[in-house]
Symmetry: none
Subunit: 215 residues, 4 copies
């Protein structure tokens, strides 16, 4: 019934999306101050002028980039269906999800780091902050309750604590891959090493949450 969108020569949304994507890549690679308008234009196969046409300023583009990667995380989190799984499987699935998301979205990590350098100034200014709050805490809360009820999880685990722990263990090594590789004797950029690291992390979380951990 509905027409497939005609490929217009002047396609507002497509141009905007290309610029946004280019902005995410550039900010992720170079931070806010290091990002160059010219490079963004080139990556987007557009002109520097168009960046200002659609986003008003470098800061406006950065805000949009940030909102975009946060929205992607929230959407992915929202698509998790932990309820369909038993508590232990649900916990593992959640861990795996976080790790995979960080692995597949290094731009998220970089943009978040950059935003923290700016003390979350842009995020707080964002009109859409409310929409970015994730349902994941509520989901974890349900998971923990089910685990407690089934006698497999310890009582009194806070869902936010759980979230932060899982996030920490994944985020840190990915965000600091390069310095850690240089300073420790371990190359944290190799997939195998990362894989090993992550199995350990899941173990750590399991031992914290479960009454009788697998190991």
């Amino acid at each position: 019934m509905s027409e497939p969108p005609v490929r217009k020569r002047r396609d507002r949304e497509a141009t905007r999306a290309r610029i946004l994507k280019a902005g995410i890549g550039e900010f992720a690679r170079h931070g806010f101050a290091g990002a160059r308008g010219e490079r963004i234009a080139q990556r987007a196969r557009s002109s520097e002028r168009m960046v200002y046409y659609y986003f008003g300023s470098k800061e406006g583009l950065f805000r949009a980039a940030l909102e975009s990667v946060y929205a992607a995380l929230r959407d992915a989190e929202g698509a998790l269906e932990l309820d369909a799984l038993g508590p232990r499987d649900g916990l593992e699935a959640f861990c795996r999800f976080v790790w995979r998301h960080y692995c597949e979205h290094p731009e998220f990590i970089s943009l978040v780091n950059t935003e923290n350098l700016h003390q979350a100034r842009h995020l707080r200014k964002s009109q859409h902050l409310g929409e970015l709050v994730s349902p994941v805490i509520g989901m974890l809360s349900g998971l923990l309750r089910r685990g407690e009820r089934d006698g497999v999880f310890r009582c009194g685990i806070d869902p936010v604590d759980l979230y932060l722990s899982v996030a920490s263990l994944g985020y840190f090594v990915l965000s600091n891959q390069h310095t850690l590789s240089a300073v420790l004797g371990r190359d944290l950029r190799s997939p195998q090493v990362l894989e090993r690291h992550w199995r350990t992390s899941v173990q750590i979380v399991s031992r914290y949450v479960c009454i009788a951990p697998e190991g």
Copy 2:
């Protein structure tokens, strides 16, 4: 033959030190690209020209700044005397040390983040990289062995894994204080909340390492 007069050498060193300190502060607050030579000169109560005189370039100063904060960490780690404590106390002391160091040296976290944005380019170029490798892994290794021997620690814990876990749990919430506070319902900039977080983290590590955790 003749040494330059002590007074002058002192001034030289003092000026250099002021610039270095100013650089650390500026890079920590604004990242590499966002740092401004003029502000560094002002903070150091010196001139922009002197920055080049002593450090050659912006990058030279950044490298020195990075080396400085890494050296400070290594020195502090080296001063740890875990051998004087029992395994459990030693583990707790190590955890406490890491947390305190991160809390008291936010510039370390920021500079490391910035350096990872640059894929550790400066760190790898550093002449002094070898000197920055910390003795802490060896110390943890000894600690773990003692704990195993005494039957209080589980067998087969890897010291690097342990180090990464403790670091992760501390680093993440401090580095991402601002975004987490904006997105979660929890203000991770308040000392009380941080304190609570840290107790949980120590628990997590203990449950991972110890055979019969305290909780």
Copy 3:
């Protein structure tokens, strides 16, 4: 054959008029180079595109603005009925008219200044220059002749000289209100001070024109 519907033609004219008025205001406040298409569009509750639709270019709008304020002056001058008054009253009426027109049309002064900055480039290009020539010189000429004949005005006064003198004395203080107020000790933006100034100016003109001035 068929005229466009009256309604539409009215809208056309109304939009054009709003843009013209907005242009006059904007050019008066900011000069030619300082005027902004965007502000003009906003003031006119129209779009920037419409400015080009109706006036072709920024310069086209400026020319129209200039013609508009000159036409308003010529029309007002044309409406003067000096012949109905005695010579002295006529002279005073003329003076009062000039002063009032400048007071009530600061945009005239500003646009004229701007146009002189451009060496009257636009005015000379104007197709309608001929229509802008005022009948006022002729009227003054008649007034002076009557005054001479009646023995109240000195002989040989040139009507253009008279016009320039009256205009000078009014224009200068209004055009330079702000700098004069800053540099002299007298606030030439206050109505009372301006009023006093104007009485003096009329005296000056009278003493020049009349044989036995009132003072």
Copy 4:
């Protein structure tokens, strides 16, 4: 005795002065908004960068330009020696001075017009406003007193009124040369016409001030 200033390759004052002069010219010709940094640099045989080095911003340069032309006027006014002349000659000398200054400094007129467009914003911000106040009002006051005492000047003439009148009659035709020439039938850009105009103006002032005017 005193050394002639050595022509240095890097001559701070000379470079600054060239830029300032270039700025005065450019602002006079194009107004503030119309002035172009690049043209200023070219006129000054320097670089655009140097403008910012010495004056901080376009506005900074404009302020300096304004102060410069006002200072030149004040200095010239200060050099007037009206006391050495009789009242009538003094009055005429003053008139001649004003006219000559305006004629020889068209940049003064243009800058003052521009500044009024900006509502004297820069002048009021100027640190040196106090120094720009002219001694000329005091000098005119003395002149008027002497004239009254000698019975050649009318009583009660206000020196500021006198100043404003003389200035008005000169400034107006010079500032509006181009539009007046286009609209009146008289070419106010020709020296002869201007000369004639000015004789009339002096007459006007004389008839206002003197008891028995020459004409």
